[in-house]
Symmetry: C2
Subunit: 260 residues, 2 copies
C-alpha cells in the first residue's frame, strides 16, 4: 500500500517504521516541524513536507497521528482528496473523521511507545475500526502485516481501552515513582525494586490480577497498614492514596471471598 503519515510523534514513528518494514511504500511524512518530518521520512524512505496543503494526493491511505485536538483541522484539510483516512487515537471516535470523509477508520496501537525505546511491533495490540465492512477488512489486512494481535474494536470500546490503559500503565508508572522516592530518602537505589516491578507485571501475563494480589491490604493486616500510614506522616497525599487503595483492595477481597 502507498501510505502517507501525518505526524512525527511516538505513534507516527513506530507505526511508520513497522509499515515500512512490512514492505509498504511510505509516500510522505508531514509534520509542522520540518526537522521532525525530515528525520522520520529519512528513516522510512519517504518525502518530508511541513505544509499540509501541498500533500501528495497519490496515496492510498492517510494516517493521521497527531495530538487529539489537531485531528479535526487535519481531517478537514485532507477532505478534498476523499482518500481512505484513519486516525490513531484512543479517545477520539470514528465519527470525528466521518464528518469530513466517508472513507474513514481507526488504527489504535494499545501500547506505550517512546522514540527512545525499541519495541517489537509484532506484539503490539492493534485496535481497528472501519466505516463499513470493506474498510474494516482492508484495515484488518493492513494491521496483520505489522502485528500478530489485531482486534476489531468500536469507538465506545476504544474509549474504554484508553481509560483502562491509564489504570494499567500511567498510574502504575506513577506509583513506581513514589516507591523510588521513598527509597531515595533512605539512601537506597531504585535498582533494588526493579526485579519486583518486572515480576509483578510478568505474573499477570498468565494469571488474572485478583488471583495474584498480595500485600498487607489483601490479607487485611491492620498492624502493618497502620505502621505504613505512620511512616507516611509527612506525606498527606501518599497517606490518602495508601488508604484509598488499601480500602479498595480490602473491599474487593472480601467481596471476592463472599462469592466463592
Amino acid at each position: 500500500m502507498r501510505i502517507t503519515i501525518i505526524g512525527s510523534g511516538n505513534v507516527a514513528t513506530h507505526l511508520g517504521a513497522a509499515l515500512k518494514n512490512a514492505g509498504h511504500q511510505i509516500v510522505e511524512v508531514y509534520s509542522r516541524n520540518m526537522q521532525n518530518a525530515a528525520l522520520l521520512a529519512y528513516h522510512i524512505g519517504a518525502e518530508a513536507i511541513d505544509n499540509l496543503d501541498q500533500v501528495n494526493a497519490e496515496t492510498d491511505l492517510f494516517i493521521i497521528s497527531v495530538k487529539d485536538d489537531a485531528i479535526i483541522p487535519t481531517a478537514q484539510t485532507l477532505a478534498k482528496y476523499q482518500k481512505l483516512t484513519v486516525h490513531t487515537a484512543g479517545a477520539v471516535g470514528l465519527e470525528t473523521l466521518l464528518k469530513f470523509n466517508p472513507k474513514a477508520g481507526v488504527l489504535y496501537p494499545l501500547q506505550t511507545l517512546s522514540k527512545i525505546r525499541e519495541v517489537d511491533f509484532n506484539t503490539v495490540p492493534l485496535c481497528i475500526e472501519g466505516a463499513g465492512n470493506d474498510i474494516t477488512l482492508l484495515l484488518e489486512q493492513l494491521a496483520r502485516t505489522i502485528s500478530e494481535r489485531v482486534y476489531r474494536v468500536n469507538s465506545d470500546q476504544r474509549r474504554v481501552l484508553h481509560l483502562a490503559a491509564v489504570f494499567a500503565c500511567n498510574f502504575p508508572n506513577y506509583l513506581y515513582g513514589i516507591a523510588q522516592q521513598l527509597l531515595e530518602k533512605q539512601d537506597m537505589e531504585f535498582e533494588m525494586l526493579r526485579p519486583l516491578i518486572l515480576e509483578t507485571a510478568q505474573k499477570v501475563q498468565d494469571h488474572l490480577p485478583q488471583e495474584v494480589q498480595t500485600g498487607p491490604a489483601a490479607r487485611n493486616d491492620r498492624i502493618t497498614m497502620a505502621a505504613h500510614l505512620q511512616m507516611l506522616n509527612d506525606e498527606p497525599t501518599l497517606q490518602e492514596l495508601y488508604t484509598l487503595l488499601s480500602q479498595a483492595i480490602i473491599k474487593k477481597d472480601h467481596r471476592g471471598k463472599g462469592h466463592k
Copy 2:
C-alpha cells in the same frame, strides 16, 4: 551450612529450594501443618516436623519464615538453643529477635513469591542485616550463594523497602485488576492489556519512572481527563482514585518542569 526452615509458606518454599540447590543441607522443615511441612521437606531433602519443641538442635541456622505475628513466639521457643537465627520479614525489626538471642539477623527477599510460580532466585534482591559484623559477613556470604543481588539494609531501611514494595507491586496489581474489569464490562479480554502492562514495567528497567511518565495527566490534557471521569460516573471510588492519582501526576510534572 546446616539450615533449619521454620515455616512452609511462599518465602520458606522458594528460599528453601534455593538454599538446597546451592548445596546447603536443609536439616528440617517445621510447619504447624504436617502436610505442608512434609511437602516442602520432601522437595528439599529434609525431615518434616510439626512440633517446634522437638526441633533438631544440630543445625547452624534457623530461618524463621512465618507470619509476622508468629515471629515472637517462634523466636521465644528457639531461644534455648542460642543458634544463629534470622527472620525473613520486611516490616519486622532485628530487635524483635535480639530480645531472645544475640545471634540474630534478617534475610529479606524483596520479591513477590508465589508457590504457583517459578522464580529465578539468582535475580531476587536479598536484603541482609546481622547483629554485629561477624553475623553480617556470614549472612552476606550465605546470601551470595543463592543470589547475585545482596544488599546490606538496616531495619529502618527495610521497613521503607517493605512500604515501597506496596506502591511498586501490590497497588499496581490492584490497578491492573481495575483495568481488567473496565474491559470486561465492554466484552473485551484482559489479554489485550497484557503487552502494555509488561512494557510499562520493562520501561523502568533502564529508565526512572519520571522519565517515562505518559498519559493525560502527564500532559495535563483536561479534556481527556474530564471524559474519563465522565465514563466512571457509576464508580465513585474509581473516580476518586482517578482524580487523586491524576492530580498527583500533574503536580509532580509541573514541579519537575519548574526545577529544570
